[in-house]
Symmetry: C2
C-alpha cells in the first residue's frame, strides 16, 4: 500500500502523481477555486482527504478526488525523524546552536479524530515541526519524543523522566529546550522542572495548546513558534511557560515556571502569573521583557531530578473532618495545606495536624485564595497552627508548594526539608518588600 | 464599678464627668491639640483609653488622663441592644421597613487586642452599628448577634443556623438582611444561603472586612454602609456578597452569592466574581447595577435550610493515589471533584470513581481552573469518566458545587440529587449561549 507520511488510498495516489510530499507548498484547483498552502501530515483515517495549511495559519481539508494539484514548490529538505528517546539534528539553518524540542504529549501534539470528534495525542515532535515549517526561520530544531500522554496522567515519577531528558539536551549543547506538554498539569510540571534544574543556564520553555494543532483556532502554531523563538534567544535562564497572551493573535506570554497557573478551562489565554508579573511577551522574533533577564542569578546548574510520591496536598473546606485529614495523609512524609485566607483551617483540625507533625510528617500552609501571602500571626487560629509546628510558605502557590515538597522530600535529609521549603530557590517566594506595579488582567473572563 | 458601654476606670470617670456617651460627638483637647470625633465602644483592656473616630474615618486612641473633654454633641438616641437570638427595632429614622443586621463574627466584628497585636472577634452587631453611626442615614437597622466565630470554623450545620435566622428576619418584615461574617469562608456561606433561601424576595447581603474595624485602613466601615444601602434599596432579590471594589475607597462591589470567591489573602478587593460579571457597584446611596435587577426571577421563597456533612470535596493533583481518594471519600453520599482543565483526573482513578459510584455515592466534576466550563466530551479521559457515571457541572464553581451538594443531599431524595445538581437553581450555572462583554480585572495583584 502506498503510504506517503500517513497518506494512503486516493490521497496518496494524487500526491504520487503530482510528486508532492508533506511539507511542500502546493497549488490546487478545487472545483474551480485555487488554493495555495503547505501539505500537512495526514489527519484522521479518511483515505481521500488532503490537509492543507493556508498562509493565514488555518488548516483546510480537501477531497483528493475533487481537486487537481497544479504546482508543487518543494519544502526545505527535512531530516526530522521521531525516534523514541533519541535526538537528531535537523540542520535546516546555520547557527551557533540549536533548540531541542522534547515532546511529552498533550493537546499540542494531538489531532482530532474526525470520526468521533475527540482529541487524541498522536503527533510526534517531528510531525509538530512539519506542521509548523516556519520554525526553520527561528532555529535549528532537534526533536525527541519522550512520552505521549495526556497531562492529567502526569505524575512525580514522570517529572523526573522529563527532567533527565531536558538535562541531557542542555548537556548536549542546546541553546534552549522547548518541552511540549499537555496544559492540564503544565503548571505543576513547570514547577517540577524549575526545582530539578535549579541554576540551569539556558531557557527551558514549556509549551502547549488549548486547541489541537489541526483546528483552525489552534494556538499550537503561535505558542510553538514563540516558545522556540524565546528558547533560541538564550537571554533568559530558568524554566518558563509560554502560552497565548490573549492580547493579539500572534502573541504569547512567558511566565516563570513556579508562578504560573491554568486559570481557564478553554480560553487560549488560560495561563496567568500569580503573585508575579509576566516575565516577557513574545511575538515571533520580537521579545519584550517585563523583567530584564540580566537580573536573574547565575548559579551553577544543580541537577536534582528526584520526586517523591509520599506527599499530599490537602484542600481545606468547611465540614472536612479530622478523620478525612488523617486518612488522606496516612503514610505521608509531608503535607501541603491549601487553607483559607491568611492560612487557616477549622480549629477542630489543629490537634490532628499536631499529631501528624509529632508522628514525623512535615506540614506546610498555603492559601486557596491563590493571590497574596499567608500570615499566620494575625488571628488566633493561625497562631495556634504555628505553635503546633505548621510552617507557613509566604506567597508560594499551593500547587508549586506541593511540587516543591515532593522534590524536597526526595532530595534532602528529612530535617532539612522545612528550611528548604522556606527558602526562595528559584523565585517561588518573593520578599515582602518587592512590589511591582504590573497589572494582572484577565480580559473577558466572565 | 462604673461601666459606660465597656469603658471602666479612668476612662469611665472622664466620660461620666463630661456627660458623654458612646456615639456622641466630642471635642477634646489633648496636650494642647484639639480633636473632634465620635466616641467609639471600648477597644482593648486598658481602662484609660478613649477611642475616637475622626471625620476622616480613622480611629485614634486617647489617654483619658491626658485629655480634657471640652464639648459633647449627643448622638442620635439609640435603642440598639445586642440580645442573643432576639431582634429589636432601632427606630432611628422613619421608613417603610428596616434592615436586619445579623452578626456571626469575623474580622468585621473584631478588634485588635493591642496587647498582643492579634485580632479577635469581639463586637456585637449593635457595637458595629455604634462604630458606624452614619448608618442612621441609610436605614432603620435592627441587630441580632447569632454567633461569634472566625469563619474558618464555619461548617454546614452553622450555615443552616444562619439560614434560619435570615428566614426569621425576612418573615419579620425586613426590607433586606445584612449578614456580617468572616471573609475566609464567606463565599461558601453565600452559596449556602443562596440555595437555602432560593426565591427570597429581598436582598440578603453578606458583608465582612479584610481589616478589623478599629484599624485605620479598615474596609469594615465602607462595606457595612454599602451593604446596608444595597439591602435597604430592595431592588434586588437573592443572596449577594458586598465587599470593597478596589476601584475607589468608598466603593463596594456586589457579587452573586454562587459566583463569588475570595481571591486574595489580604487585599480589600479580594472578592471577585468567577464566570460572572459583578452584579452592582455601591458607593453610599449611589447604586449602579451591571445587571438590571428586574431580570431576575420572581419565585416564591422555597426555604430548605438543611445541609449534610456526609459529602466531600476532592482536589485532584498529580500523584494522588486511588487509596487516598478511597479513604477520603469513605462513607460519603456525594463527592465533588476539582479536576484539571476541562474536567479530568488521572486515568488510574477512573476505576476508583466507578466503584464509588456503584457503591451509592454521587460523583460530580468541576474544574480547579476556576474560570471556564467543564467539557468531558473532548478527551478520552473525560469520556471514560462520563461512561462510569461522573456528572459534569458546567461552569459551576468548585466550592459552590460542594455547598450545593451538601444542601441537595440533605433536602432531596437520593435519586433526585444528580438532576438537582445539574439544574440551574439560583444562577450557579450559566447557559452556554450567554456571553457578556464585562471585563474581569484584578488590578495590581502581582
Amino acid at each position: 500500500m502506498v503510504n506517503i507520511e500517513g497518506y494512503t488510498g486516493g490521497a496518496a495516489k494524487t500526491l504520487v502523481e503530482a510528486g508532492a510530499n508533506v511539507g511542500d507548498k502546493i497549488r490546487l484547483s478545487v472545483e474551480g477555486r485555487v488554493v495555495v498552502g503547505r501539505l500537512m501530515p495526514r489527519v484522521g483515517s479518511s483515505s481521500d482527504i488532503l490537509t492543507i495549511k493556508l498562509d493565514n495559519g488555518y488548516n483546510i481539508g480537501v477531497k483528493s478526488s475533487k481537486c487537481k494539484i497544479e504546482a508543487v514548490y518543494p519544502g526545505s529538505p527535512s531530516e526530522h525523524t521521531s525516534v523514541r528517546g533519541e535526538t537528531q539534528k535537523a540542520g535546516l539553518i546555520r547557527g551557533d546552536g540549536y533548540v531541542s524540542l522534547v515532546s511529552t504529549g498533550g493537546t499540542i501534539a494531538s489531532r482530532v479524530e474526525y470520526e468521533t470528534g475527540a482529541v487524541k495525542p498522536a503527533l510526534s515532535a517531528s510531525e509538530l515541526i512539519q506542521m509548523v515549517p516556519e520554525l526553520d526561520e527561528y532555529a535549528r530544531v532537534r526533536t525527541r519524543v519522550l512520552m505521549s500522554i495526556l497531562s492529567e496522567n502526569m505524575r512525580p515519577a514522570l517529572w523526573s523522566e522529563i527532567a533527565h531528558a531536558v538535562y541531557e539536551e542542555v548537556g548536549g549543547g542546546s541553546d534552549g529546550v522547548v518541552v511540549a506538554t499537555g496544559t492540564d498539569t503544565m503548571g505543576y510540571t513547570a514547577a517540577a522542572l524549575s526545582f530539578a534544574l535549579k541554576g540551569v543556564g539556558v531557557p527551558i520553555v514549556l509549551v502547549g495548546a488549548q486547541r489541537s494543532s489541526d483546528r483552525p483556532s489552534s494556538d499550537a502554531y503561535t505558542n510553538l513558534v514563540n516558545a522556540v523563538s524565546f528558547a533560541k534567544s538564550g537571554a533568559a535562564r530558568g524554566v518558563f511557560v509560554c502560552m497565548h497572551s490573549g492580547v493579539s493573535d500572534g502573541e504569547s506570554m512567558v511566565i516563570e515556571g513556579v508562578r504560573v497557573r491554568k486559570l481557564h478551562t478553554s480560553m487560549r489565554s488560560a495561563f496567568q502569573p500569580v503573585n508575579a508579573a509576566p516575565y516577557a511577551f513574545v511575538s515571533g522574533k520580537s521579545i519584550s521583557y517585563v523583567h530584564p533577564p540580566g537580573t536573574r542569578g547565575v548559579d551553577e546548574l544543580d541537577f536534582k531530578p528526584n520526586f517523591s510520591e509520599d506527599v499530599s496536598l490537602i484542600y481545606f473546606y468547611p465540614g472536612v473532618t479530622p478523620r478525612k485529614i488523617r486518612s488522606m495523609t496516612e503514610g505521608s512524609k509531608g503535607v501541603v495545606i491549601g487553607g483559607t485566607g491568611l492560612g487557616h483551617v477549622a480549629s477542630d483540625l489543629t490537634d490532628t495536624l499536631s499529631e501528624l507533625i509529632r508522628s514525623g510528617c512535615h506540614v506546610f500552609m498555603t492559601s486557596q485564595c491563590l493571590w497574596g501571602r499567608v500570615n499566620m500571626n494575625v488571628y488566633t487560629t493561625g497562631r495556634r497552627l504555628l505553635e503546633v509546628g505548621v510552617v507557613p510558605l509566604e506567597d508560594m502557590l499551593m500547587e508549586t508548594a506541593y511540587v516543591k515538597l515532593s522534590w524536597a522530600v526526595a532530595n534532602f535529609e528529612w530535617e532539612k526539608v522545612p528550611s528548604v521549603m522556606r527558602s526562595n530557590l528559584v523565585g517561588e517566594i518573593s520578599e515582602r518588600s518587592v512590589l511591582t506595579t504590573q497589572v494582572h488582567r484577565s480580559e473577558g473572563w466572565t
